[in-house]
Amino acid sequence: MFASKRLSKMQEHVPPGIAIAKSENLEEWQMDIKVLDDNPLYQNQTYRLKFTFGSKYPIEPPEVQFIECAASSDTPRPIPIHPHIYSNGIICLDLLSSAGWSPVQTVESVCMSIQSMLTANSRNERPPGDSDFVSYNRRRIRDIPFVYEDDNV
């Protein structure tokens, strides 16, 4: 409903390190992001984010997660290793939850937040309980009761 105007606005100007990979409709977009500094964990890599917009976007947060493209494809896209990113691409980030979301946020501001989340990280590890979470989680991303306990990474 509100989404069209703000999404088309995004296409006019895209911040550095961020590129639109797919934006044919207003239900799902894919974005490619890169880190802007020389963090060895993520250097020379491009990652793909999938945005799914509900009918209430931007009052409700979009669903955002990393998706994988095979290493053999034209555009290899792995899931970045990060203590807040599960190996199935689900991201534990406060601003993507109902409570942390503000309708003022945009696709580009979310991308930039995730960029800086990667930039600031120095730990080459997955979240604790990654394998259990990946095999058992069937909930929608915004309903997962993440605990945002550590703001350092």
Partner: protein, 511 residues
């Protein structure tokens, strides 16, 4: 025995942060436990006149009274600090409704308090929507001089449509009311009720107000909803969370449901909340299976894993630790030599050691089952008594016609039935409580009291089941027994509550 009129103030320090309930209006005299009538005839502002050690002071409020209490507090703070009632409400919610503390904080540091509460700088004037030239809504990106927009004091301005959708989403989908923040990114400003009034109408606004009242009850430690289905009452009791180690605050709602103000579970006197939780958890884990385990399994003599032998020979190899032993004598298999299929080595040392370890673990299971069986027996009997209670009414009518007694005169059955329910409930929890008690002189007294009550209850229960024609003759007897049961219950509860309050009990677990 004296009832302790000042029990609460003994336990809570008067200058506690959350202690907002002034208790100067209580007029509790000392008295014995002559008050055996637990019936309530008035749900308004009724304090019990006489209080036993196991009873606490409380008050039942209906929804209108809760709302009035809330409004009174808002009005008071609003008048003292000179803010609008809407902002005073935000402040109060921030300070968990501790009036004195809020007023003090506001007077000392007005700006910082407002800021932390999410009120922000206060400016004059009523909230209105505006049309501002060159406005661009940060949510829908609509722009134009004719777009109606709204901003709170934080000056994050959005178009009225977006603001409305945002509030509707928060109220309807997320059930929020008191903690809705400004839609602006990272803005901590709380949307006050004046703004909601301005932007929303009808059903959704009513829902907002309902949720607000609800958060009031949720926020205040001394208020608790009656957990009975469809009951809208709230019980006000000033027992603090940290006092729950020493008090079991049982209250009775106007709907007659008796529950614990500390944890909302049905009345669980004499056991304190923490032990009740431990017990319930233990029973969930253990009870169903432990009987079967006790009958069909043994533990591995080395790693204590529980093993079921489902066929085969006596040579056991533990799946977990690979220990090899004989199922019959529990001794090392290596010592068995060639007598593979029948064990005649019962007296060997390795076997008897293993068996004594086994016996120990069995003994602890047996101990648990001892208490559990009695606990669940009373639970079961209470259910049966309840069925009986439903038949009581029928009994009373037929008793009336057969014996020529009046309706008032057959009320004794109703009283007896209620007493049975209550005593069984208490007995049930005495067993959970006893499970966690370390043995000493006090437990002997406790067990005597328990035994007396149990005998009284079983006697009454037995009489209660007599055929109808006999009941009329037993009236005096039943009345006596009912009174006796109630009295034994009060004695037991008072004794336990006194000891709990004074920290006299010793337990076999940390809690």
């Amino acid at each position: 025995m004296d009832s302790d009129g000042e029990m609460m103030s003994d336990v809570s320090s008067p200058d506690d942060f959350l202690d907002t309930q002034a208790s100067d209006d209580d007029s509790l005299g000392d008295g014995g436990f002559g008050d055996l009538d637990t019936g309530f005839d008035d749900d308004n502002d009724l304090f019990r006149q006489q209080r036993n050690p196991h009873e606490v002071e409380y008050k039942v409020l209906n929804p209108a009274e809760v709302e009035r209490e809330r409004q009174d507090q808002i009005a008071e703070v609003s008048a003292v600090v000179g803010l609008s009632p809407e902002l005073a409400a935000v402040l109060l919610r921030f300070g968990q409704w501790n009036k004195e503390k809020i007023i003090e904080m506001y007077i000392d540091y007005p700006e910082r308090t407002l800021d932390r509460a999410g009120v922000g700088p206060v400016t004059e004037g009523r909230a209105t929507t505006e049309m501002i030239p060159g406005f661009l809504c940060g949510i829908c990106f609509d722009e134009g001089d004719d777009v109606e927009s709204y901003a709170m004091r934080c000056d994050h301005r959005f178009c009225v449509d977006c603001y409305r959708h945002y509030l509707e989403q928060k109220i309807k989908e997320e059930g929020e009311s008191a903690r809705i923040r400004c839609p602006g990114n990272n803005c901590q400003h709380i949307v006050d009720s004046q703004s909601v009034e301005l932007l929303l109408s009808g059903e959704i606004r009513d829902r907002y107000h309902m949720l607000l009242t609800r958060t009031y009850v949720d926020d205040k430690e001394n208020l608790r909803w009656c957990p009975a289905p469809n009951c809208e009452h709230v019980v006000d009791c000033s027992v603090k969370k940290r006092d729950l180690r020493r008090i079991v605050p049982t209250v009775q709602c106007a709907c007659s449901h008796e529950f614990c103000h500390g944890c909302s579970l049905p009345d669980h006197q004499p056991a304190p909340c923490t032990l009740v939780k431990m017990w319930i958890k233990k029973c969930e884990d253990d009870s169903e299976t432990s009987n079967w385990i006790s009958a069909n399994t043994k533990e591995c003599p080395r790693c204590q894993s529980t093993i079921e032998k489902n066929g085969g020979c006596n040579h056991m190899t533990c799946r977990k630790c690979k220990h090899e032993f004989c199922w019959m004598c529990m001794g090392l298999w290596a010592e068995h030599g060639t007598s593979w299929y029948n064990c005649n080595r019962f007296e060997e040392k390795s076997g008897s050691d293993a068996r004594s370890a086994q016996a120990k673990s069995r003994a602890s299971l047996d101990r648990y089952l001892h208490y559990y069986n009695r606990y669940s027996n009373h639970e079961q009997s209470a259910k049966l008594d309840k069925d009986l209670y439903l038949k009581t009414e029928k009994k009373m009518t037929s008793l009336q016609s057969q014996s020529g007694l009046s309706w008032i005169e057959v009320q004794f059955l109703d009283t007896a039935s209620h007493a049975l329910q209550q005593c069984r409930q208490t007995l049930k929890w005495t067993y959970a409580f006893a499970f966690y008690l370390a043995r000493n002189n006090l437990t002997e007294i406790f067990e005597d009291n328990q035994k007396d009550l149990e005998m009284a209850v079983e006697n009454l229960s037995q009489m209660f089941e007599k055929p109808i024609p006999e009941l009329a003759q037993l009236k005096v007897d039943i009345l006596d027994k009912t009174a006796y049961c109630k009295k034994r219950r009060v004695i037991l509860l008072n004794d336990t509550a006194e000891n709990l309050k004074n920290g006299e009990w010793s337990f076999n677990v940390e809690w």
